[in-house]
Symmetry: C2
Subunit: 158 residues, 2 copies
């Protein structure tokens, strides 16, 4: 069921990853097709899961979320049960935007967004540190977000 994407599909994905507010007509012109097939391709890319969703990206600072924190967590045990339990718990916190399981040492990296330092302290004390099986917890404040990009650059390989 792996549908092979052609050059036009990858071009559509590259365009929509950068600007999803473009009309089908605009995209059609860029890739050199008419509106109908362009629309069907976009619809197919969505329905087949290549496009997961369309979202608005907002300005973090302007909306009062001044603090971005990277938090490294190691667990006491590494049983499947423990890992799964931790993952499900930490995923539910709205302050935690990303959870990555890192190779080497079996630990996790969390990306956390909060208003300020006070807010972060409250979050750690009342939510994060109360999770069971946490061994160590190390927080690094982000001084500056130099680049934030959600688009992967896709190439079409024959």
């Amino acid at each position: 069921m792996i549908y092979k994407l052609d050059k036009l599909d990858t071009r559509i994905l590259n365009i929509l990853q950068k600007d999803a507010s473009l009309s089908t007509k605009d995209i059609a012109e860029q890739i050199g097709l008419s509106v109908s097939p362009t629309h069907e391709r976009i619809k197919r890319l969505k329905s087949e899961g290549y496009i997961e969703k369309y979202v608005a990206l907002v300005n973090r600072e302007k909306l009062g979320k001044h603090l971005l924190v990277l938090c490294t967590v190691t667990l006491k045990e590494q049983s499947i049960e423990t890992l799964k339990n931790f993952e499900e718990s930490v995923t539910q916190f709205k302050e935690v935007l990303e959870v990555l399981c890192i190779a080497g040492g079996q630990d996790y990296l969390l990306k956390i967004v909060v208003d300020d330092v006070d807010d972060y302290h409250t979050f750690v004390v009342t939510h994060l540190s109360s999770l069971s099986n946490i061994s160590t917890l190390s927080s690094s404040f982000v001084l500056k977000e130099i680049k934030r990009e959600t688009a992967f650059h896709l190439n079409f390989y024959l």
Copy 2:
């Protein structure tokens, strides 16, 4: 000028951050307004920079980007010139989706997306390690992306 957003604005932003493919009509119904003022608010939020852009989020694995790497970089010197030079260079690599300047040790964390380990090796050798003033370079492979969220949860404070 600081908090000119009201409750309806924050609700709109929360909705659009999760699903930007909703029609103005849908959003209007959710927040209890008619289409016109809802449309005006969305347009204003965009023009005033609260909404930076609309994008399509794609499925990384399905599109052949199988390897996500976190790379920590420290520089030899920390002069403003050196930092700026590094930041401008590393930002231009399409494989590098995020560049964060981290407190403590004056170093950087890069989020890098590539096809596979071979691809990563090529990237490091031909691009990353050839940058000047790099002191140390430590790569951590991501075993599993447990949560990826782009939406901040916004509250309206009186």
